[in-house]
């Protein structure tokens, strides 16, 4: 039957969830509405802005452009999954301390993009950081501080400073 909910069984931030979703549901909507994880934002809804970026099986993806059911059996990490209780992730700390956050709207997606980059490549070149940051639009900042924050975080995560 059209629109009949199907089972979605997937791990979000390390926790297994089982829910019934309509086939047309998008991953960003399921995260935000069904799982109440509203850190992931809705922006353009046409796959151009990137503020909806989450990590799926270790890779950065745009959650507004993926059917939720495609996450069945997979692992998703959202911004809510980064901090350990009160302890912020080094990327979060770097963004805050370096002044890379202006209005903040693009930041959850941007931090997830940075995490995906650094998990795959702990010592990226500036060009690689720039390319990653390019995947999320920022209407405020001009990107420089954000790129620098990622580099600072990379250094911390590699065990420096």
């Amino acid at each position: 039957m059209k629109g009949e909910p199907k089972e979605l069984r997937f791990t979000v931030n390390g926790k297994l969830h089982e829910l019934q979703v309509k086939p047309k549901a998008l991953l960003s909507d399921v995260l935000r509405k069904d799982l109440k994880l509203t850190g992931t934002k809705r922006g353009c809804l046409e796959s151009t802005c990137g503020v909806c970026t989450v990590i799926l099986d270790g890779k950065a993806v745009r959650s507004c452009s993926i059917l939720a059911l495609q996450a069945n059996g997979h692992q998703v990490t959202t911004i809510e999954g980064l901090a350990q209780g009160d302890k912020l992730h080094p990327i979060q700390e770097a963004f805050i301390n370096h002044g890379a956050v202006e209005c903040g709207f693009c930041i959850p997606g941007r931090v997830m993009m940075a995490k995906a980059l650094l998990d795959e490549n702990p010592d990226p070149s500036r060009e690689e950081v720039r390319l990653a940051m390019q995947g999320i639009l920022c209407a405020d900042s001009g990107y420089v501080k954000q790129i620098e924050a990622v580099e600072i975080a990379a250094g911390k995560m590699r065990g420096g400073e």
């Binding site: 039957m1 059209k2 629109g3 009949e4 199907k6 309509k22 086939p23 047309k24 998008l26 809804l45 046409e46 796959s47 990137g50 970026t53 799926l56 890779k59 950065a60 993806v61 745009r62 452009s65 993926i66 059917l67 059911l69 495609q70 069945n72 059996g73 993009m113 390319l131 990653a132 390019q134 995947g135």
Partner: protein, 290 residues
């Protein structure tokens, strides 16, 4: 978006059964990076969606010196971009992927989905045409092989039957003394090219005469367009920069580009000249080396 019936087959055979049952009422979704955009715009509303993204058997990149390259239809753009095999033997594919959309889109979107979407502004099809690639299609009745060029029929229309699936892309082994390049006009990296050109040039080693040439344009017609008159101008000649400029002009005359909010047809025609010349010059340099 309208509701639809949803199936998630795990194998090619299972998918083909669904397609054979629902035919025109069904549409395959792979990564959905193109398809979901038009579904949300209300331009596409299939009754039944066959989600093949989970078919791991179609996710592969293999290379054999005699057979060439085989890319499974569900290989992601990112996998192609990063593949050591592709970077070594078909570097132009990796270069093209680096400029395709964004990292997130490439992480989930598939090469098969891109080709079956049939966007004349798309980058992979012109490059595959320049590489003389073929596609393997399968239905419950059997398999057929079709050239990349023949696959494109019209804007967003490809030669794929309602009960057929794209299985793999086949690229012949690289030829000697052949260079291939892809260039496109982007405002921002990753944009669909306002126009784009994929060029392959093969030289005769003894005298550097052009033995073969393929020039394919994106966003310059309703399909990825092979500009054969322009190609003919190169064949049998030693290529000078003057000839490259002439070839750009001929290509521009063959093109039939659209006018839209990004550029007028007139501007696109001018840019065809520039980008054909640029891509051809790069291809020529590479042909001289390899």
């Amino acid at each position: 978006m309208k509701d639809f019936e949803y199936f998630a087959p795990k194998t090619v055979e299972e998918s083909l059964s669904f397609l054979s049952q629902y035919k025109e009422e069904s549409k395959i979704i792979a990564g959905g990076q193109s398809m979901l955009v038009i579904m949300r715009q209300g331009l596409l509303a299939p009754e039944n969606v066959v989600d093949i993204k989970g078919i791991t058997a179609l996710n592969y990149i293999t290379y054999d010196e005699k057979e060439g390259l085989r890319i499974g239809a569900l290989t992601t753009h990112r996998a192609i971009e990063k593949s050591p095999i592709i970077q070594k033997h078909f570097g132009v594919l990796s270069e093209m992927e680096r400029n395709l959309a964004t990292i997130q889109t490439r992480n989930w979107g598939t090469i098969g989905g891109n080709l079956c979407h049939g966007d004349p502004a798309g980058d992979p099809a012109p490059v595959f045409i320049a590489l003389d690639a073929k596609l393997k299609l399968r239905s419950l009745s059997g398999e057929r092989i079709i050239t990349m060029e023949e696959f494109s029929k019209d804007m967003l229309e490809v030669d794929l039957g309602p009960d057929e699936m794209l299985i793999e892309i086949q690229v012949p082994p690289p030829r000697l003394h052949t260079g291939i390049a892809h260039e496109k006009l982007m405002v921002m990296q990753g944009d669909a090219g306002i126009v784009g050109a994929a060029v392959s040039i093969t030289l005769k080693p003894e005298d550097s005469v052009c033995e073969d040439a393929r020039i394919v344009l994106s966003n310059s017609a309703s399909v990825p367009l092979r500009v054969r008159e322009a190609e003919k101008r190169l064949i049998g000649k030693v290529i000078s920069s003057h000839l490259l400029a002439e070839v750009g002009e001929v290509a521009s005359a063959e093109a039939d580009p659209p006018s839209d909010l990004h550029a007028s047809a007139e501007y696109r025609r001018e840019m065809v000249k520039v980008f054909v010349t640029r891509a051809a010059a790069k291809a020529l340099e590479r042909a001289k080396i390899g």
